[in-house]
C-alpha cells in the first residue's frame, strides 16, 4: 500500500515536472512550451528531468535512488495505463534513444565539471562540442563539407553578468 502511494505521488510529480519542463527554455524562465504534438521533453516515468538533476548536483547515491524510483514509477504506469493509452503516449513523445534514459550523473563533457558536493575542487576537462561561433564561418564550413548544422544561439551572460551561459 505504501509502495503504491509512493508511486502515485511520483506519478503526480511526473505530471508537474512535465508541465514545468515544457515551459522552461534553456537557462531561464518563461518562454513558450511546445504546442505541436503535445508537451516536448515529457518522458513518462521521469520524476526529475535531466536538466533539473544537473541543477541539483545530486550525489551518486541520490542518482541511484532516483533511478530506482523512476524504474518503479514506469513499472506502475505500465500496469495503470491501457494498451491504447500507452500507444497514444508513445505517439505523443519524441523518439527515445534505443539505449533508454541518458547516463546517470554528469557526463565527462559537462562544462560545469563534477559536483562540488563530491570534492569541491577543479578537474581536468574532457572534450566538449567544438563550436563555430559565427554564422558566416559555420555556414561556409557546412557548405564546404556537406555536413548538417547543429545550431544553437545563446547569451554568454545572464542578468548582465558575464562568464556564464
Amino acid at each position: 500500500m505504501k509502495r503504491w502511494r509512493a508511486s502515485a505521488f511520483a506519478a503526480a510529480v511526473v505530471g508537474w515536472c512535465a508541465l514545468t519542463a515544457s515551459s522552461q527554455p534553456p537557462g531561464g524562465q518563461g518562454g513558450p512550451g511546445g504546442k505541436r504534438g503535445g508537451p516536448p521533453g515529457f518522458a513518462p516515468g521521469t520524476v526529475i528531468p535531466p536538466f533539473v538533476r544537473d541543477y541539483l548536483d545530486l550525489t551518486a547515491e541520490q542518482e541511484k535512488r532516483l533511478d530506482e524510483l523512476e524504474a518503479e514509477v514506469k513499472q506502475n504506469l505500465e500496469r495503470i495505463l491501457t494498451d491504447e493509452q500507452k500507444k497514444k503516449l508513445a505517439d505523443l513523445r519524441p523518439p527515445m534513444g534505443k539505449d533508454g534514459p541518458p547516463p546517470k550523473g554528469r557526463g565527462p563533457g559537462d562544462k560545469n565539471g563534477p559536483s562540488p558536493n563530491k570534492d569541491g575542487g577543479e578537474h581536468p576537462r574532457a572534450a566538449a562540442i567544438q563550436w563555430f561561433t559565427t554564422w558566416e564561418a559555420g555556414e561556409a564550413e557546412a557548405g564546404r563539407t556537406g555536413r548538417p548544422i547543429l545550431f544553437v544561439s545563446a547569451a554568454p551572460h545572464c542578468a548582465g553578468v558575464s562568464g556564464i551561459w
Binding site: 537557462g27 518522458a43 527515445m96 534513444g97 576537462r125 562540442i129 544561439s153 547569451a155
Partner: protein
Amino acid sequence: MDRSFLSRPEVIAASRDFVCVRLATYEDADEARFLKGLFRTRSGEVENSVFCVLAPDGRSKLIRAARGPEQVYADAAAMAADMKRVAGQYSPIAAPAALPLVAGPRLALDVAAADGLPLVVILGNDAVAHQRLASGVAKLAWTDELIGRFVYAEGTAKELTGVSDVALDSGVVVIVPDMFGLRGTVLRQVAADASAENVARELRVAATEFKAPAKYFRTHVQEGQRLNVYWETRVPVTDPMEYAARERGRRVAQPPKE
C-alpha cells in the same frame, strides 16, 4: 542555455558528424536578423536562445526550431539518436578544417569563461606568420586529442590588456579566463617563429594542465552583481525576461541613491 543535453557524452559524440554552430546572442546585428528569421518567439523579438538542426545549405530546417533542445527531445539519448538519424542522411565530402574563431578577444574571453575552457589567441600583425600559425592551430583543433578543448580567437597584444603576463607581440597564447571572462592569466605562450611541433606540444600540455573551476549559476550571478560586473552587448538585449533581469541586476549592483 541548456546545461544538460549539450554536455552529454552521447550528444558530444553525435556532434562530430555535424558542423556545430553556436552564436553569441546580441553580439552581431546580421546574426540577430538571421535568428529572428529562424525562430519566431512569443515576444516577436530575438530572445536569449535558439536551437535548430539545419541542412548543409544553412537554410532548410531539419527539425522545428525551439528555444533549446529539451523543448524538442525527451532527453539527451533521444537527441543523440535523432542526430545520428539526420547525419545518416548525408554523405559528407570533407571534415571540418577551418579554425573556429570567436569574433574578437573580448567576446572570446567571455565565451571561454562561460564554457570553462582555456582560450587560444593567435597574436600578431604579420600576415604570413599569422597564416602559418592559424593553419597549424586549425589542424590541431580538429584532432581527437584537442577537439572541444579550447576556445579560439585572433587579435593583438593590445586587445589583451586584461590578461596578465602576455610576453609576446606575435605567437600563440593560451589564456585561463577569470570567472567572469573579463581578465585572464597566461597558461602557455609560444613565439611566432616556433616550430609546428612546439606549438602542438604547448597546446597539448595546456589542455592537460588546465583545470576547469567549479561554477554555480546562482552564486556566480550574485557575486557578479556584487562586484559590479555588467556585460555590454553589441546589439540591444530584446528578450523581455533577460532585459528585466539585467535591469534588476544593475539596480543590485548600483542601488539608487535615496
